[in-house]
Amino acid sequence: MHPVLVLVVQRIALGLLLLLAVSAVIFLGVEALPGDTAQAILGQQATPEALANLREKLGLNDPAITRYFRWLGGVLTGDLGTALTNGADIATSIGQRLGNTLFLAGCAAAISVPLAIILGLIAARYAGRWPDKLISGVTLTTISLPEFVAAYFVIYLLTQVFPVFQPVAMVFPGMSFWAKLQAVALPVIVLVVVVLAHMMRMTRAAILNVMQSAYIETAELKGLSPMTVIWRHAFPNAIAPVVAVVMLNMAYLVVGVVVVEVVFSYNALGQYLVDHVSKRDLPVVQAVGLIFAAVYITLNMLADVIGIISNPRLRHPK
């Protein structure tokens, strides 16, 4: 078998193992919370008999390990259980919101990743000169800004001063793609502003690190233009660290944007999680936690795999 394939398969196996471990941690975490599901359903005033009956009915008296595997088995077959608060099927509720989350994250990534890399290349090209200082200064400012501040600033600017967008990003089934794009424009702008700096600075640092290599001098002595040297000779050798940071930021776009979703009343996973945490709806918290973990692990696994494939020594062994 090709050594790259072996490494990739190893990485994926490791990712799955990690996911299993995380599912156990999530289960244990929820388990460790005071009170249980029966208590949460019936409330503080419930009689001991009613609680015992409900526990029996829900199978809560079974040992934790049995309940864990019952839950895990459900997850694997697409059954995430039902929400306590409204009795809705969790998988169905999540499905639609996950779509919204991925749509928002996808739009933000589609703009921020290429922009960050291009800005990073330009900053590296003019390292220490004014374009570099300008780019680094502006992105450093935006990363220092808490995202809700950035969000309110963008709202003020683009709905009050220049009223081009709606301040609320409502999306619902049946909306056209174009209408959806318009609806998410503001949160996308905020997210781009928030994640840009990190990726841009990593690209710049990775390129500058590679620029110290002897083969960059070779390229310069070939009489190639500085941008050609960076794009053709430096960037291919800087892919792995850049991809690692890009993936971390994409994971953040999926799981970390609760604040932005709340500010824009965007109906997606983050808001769903926040709602149900406040209502102590444990099955929902458990399910959403697992999905967030899966997103993180998958994206980082993808970064590792791209890192492996981008390495010519692994791709073309002796």
Partner: protein, 545 residues
């Protein structure tokens, strides 16, 4: 006669800013007004020690300053145009088009992420010299001319897939591909094994002759440059010492410094009579963890007390692995090491403090073998504290004694490694080894990174110290001149085995085995036409077989 001048440099001054530790930055002048003229199709050798400014002058033919180096004065005329003050765009159009560059380390100079062909033809296409198919055809032609294996498909490989010698040839092909007027060869064979160097040197020479290209050939090895250059310029401290036809420089050098360069490496050392061994190695076999072949195969050698055993061989022959096995860093899979009458534990953990003290090491890179944040006094004082518990004034006194022994005077104890020259750093490493009062010092290529004259000084110092301290050396080297200068016994290693072993006079006397013969005949001799003779001789022999 039409003017045939390709490159004319007049009064070249090159400066840089240096940042000495703890002091304000200051301007240093690297090259003080050097003049140089190169005719089309001629080869000029630039020779000198490190710091002589030879690479800096070579790169000035492309108006390129490496690092913070600035070309601050004089004129550089290439193909009739002044280029020192040319615009970046003008420089880009001549770099890679009129002048190309071959560096010392081709392994580092090729982009690891791109196929060789892509890199070899890049310049020709970027400058519009040729179309892609033309450039590829020319690259294959050059691969063939330079003796690369499978020239048709060689370019499909990535740099890490071919050997160092092949990369050096590929870099020569890359330099010749756009049909430049001038190629700068910057120590192109220095990093290669002596047996590989001769082939690469012959390939380069033939390529220069066939393509009629002019060349600046930069090296510190006079014997090497004598094989390829028409003229030689000797440089020292950024100034020209002597310029002349190659034969004149090596036969009748006019300046003292040139004479010293010519006679370097003629150090001879009379071998000592046999003595009882301090180190006996029997049937040593070793492999690295996770690998499936033995790096050392049943190695058996003896090193007499107070004498020197030279271990010779090319890279990958297992010389340094032998050192690691003796020091206990790599426990052997079988075999015995007897030291001073007692058997040594195979691994480090099983050795006593005295075992550790009595075997010391000196490395090739003195730079990386010292903590840059410790003073020389702390570095040498450390083994004194660790092994003998010396402290305070007693320790300082002993440090000074050791500094005197390595011929470095007062005041060095407070300096940092960065303030020392290459030779001084290696002397400090020797003093650190001596501080432990060892019976055996393993010297791993200790002179390989040094200039010839400095290396000679280190070898003389080691011999003097041996006479005083009666310490034995296991001297690992790939350089046969060094072996002649220091060894009493020699072990020739090839692919993990000792192929020839004995007293120096026996090992270096015919009849030779094939490998030793190849090794000995590959060492460049300071003689015009030596390369052609050896190559012709080898061709004849292989035709005879």
């Amino acid at each position: 006669m039409a003017d045939n001048t390709l490159l004319e440099i007049r009064g070249l001054v090159i400066q840089a800013t240096s940042y000495p530790p703890g002091e304000p930055p200051k301007e240093v002048t690297l090259v003080h007004g050097v003049d140089l003229t190169l005719q089309r199709g001629r080869v000029l050798g630039l020779i000198g020690e490190s710091g002589a400014g030879k690479s800096t002058i070579g790169l000035s033919a492309m108006a390129y300053g490496r690092g913070g180096v600035r070309l601050t004065g004089g004129t550089i005329t290439l193909n009739g145009r002044e280029i020192r003050l040319a615009s970046p765009a003008a420089l880009r159009s001549l770099r890679g088009r009129e002048v190309t560059y071959v560096s010392q380390s081709a392994a580092a100079s090729f982009n690891p992420a791109k196929r060789l062909m892509e890199q070899v033809i890049e310049t020709s296409i970027a400058h519009g010299v040729m179309t892609r198919p033309e450039a590829e055809a020319r690259a294959v032609l050059l691969f063939r001319k330079l003796g690369l294996p499978n020239p048709e498909t060689f370019g499909n490989r990535y740099p890490h897939q071919v050997s160092g010698g092949q990369l050096q040839r590929a870099m020569t092909a890359m330099a010749l591909c756009p049909k430049p007027d001038l190629v700068i060869f910057d120590e192109p064979t220095t990093a290669l094994d002596v047996t590989t160097q001769i082939d690469v040197l012959a390939a380069i020479k033939e390529a220069i002759r066939d393509t009629q290209v002019a060349a600046l050939y930069i090296t510190h090895d006079l014997a090497v440059v004598a094989q390829v250059a028409d003229e030689i310029m000797v440089l020292r401290h950024g100034r020209m010492v002597e310029l002349g036809e190659t034969a004149q420089i090596i036969k009748e050098p006019r300046q003292d410094y040139t004479r010293a360069l010519v006679s370097v490496r003629s150090l001879e050392h009379a071998e000592k009579p046999p003595a009882p061994p301090v180190l006996r190695i029997e049937g040593l076999t070793a492999r690295y963890r996770g690998t499936h072949f033995d790096v050392l195969k049943r190695v058996s050698v003896e090193l007499p007390k107070g004498q020197t055993l030279a271990v010779v061989g090319e890279s990958g022959s297992g010389k340094s692995t032998l050192a690691r096995a003796i020091t206990g860093l790599l426990p052997p899979s079988s075999g015995r090491i007897t030291f001073d009458g007692r058997e040594l534990s195979p691994d480090l953990a099983g050795r006593s403090k005295d075992d550790l003290r009595e075997i010391q090491m000196i490395y090739q890179m003195a730079d990386t073998a010292m903590n840059p944040r410790q003073t020389v006094g702390t570095i040498i004082g450390r083994p004194l504290e660790f092994y003998f518990g010396l402290k305070g004034a007693a320790r300082d006194r002993r440090v000074q004694e050791l500094l005197d022994e390595i011929e470095m005077g007062k005041g060095f104890a407070d300096r940092y490694p960065a303030e020392l020259s290459g030779g001084q750093k290696q002397r400090v490493c020797i003093a650190r080894a001596l501080a432990a009062k060892p019976k055996l010092i393993i010297c791993d290529e200790v002179t390989s990174a040094l200039d010839p004259l400095v290396a000679d000084g280190i070898l003389k110092l080691l011999l003097n110290l041996q006479a005083i301290e009666h310490v034995a050396y296991l001297f690992i080297t790939h350089d046969l001149a060094t072996v002649r200068a220091i060894a009493d016994k020699i072990a020739v290693m090839y692919k993990g085995q000792v192929v020839r072993y004995g007293q120096k006079s026996d090992v270096l006397a015919p009849p030779f085995d094939d490998y030793t013969d190849l090794l000995l005949s590959s060492v460049p001799e300071m003689e015009v036409g030596w390369l052609e003779q050896v190559i012709a001789h080898r061709k004849m022999e292989s035709a005879g077989n």
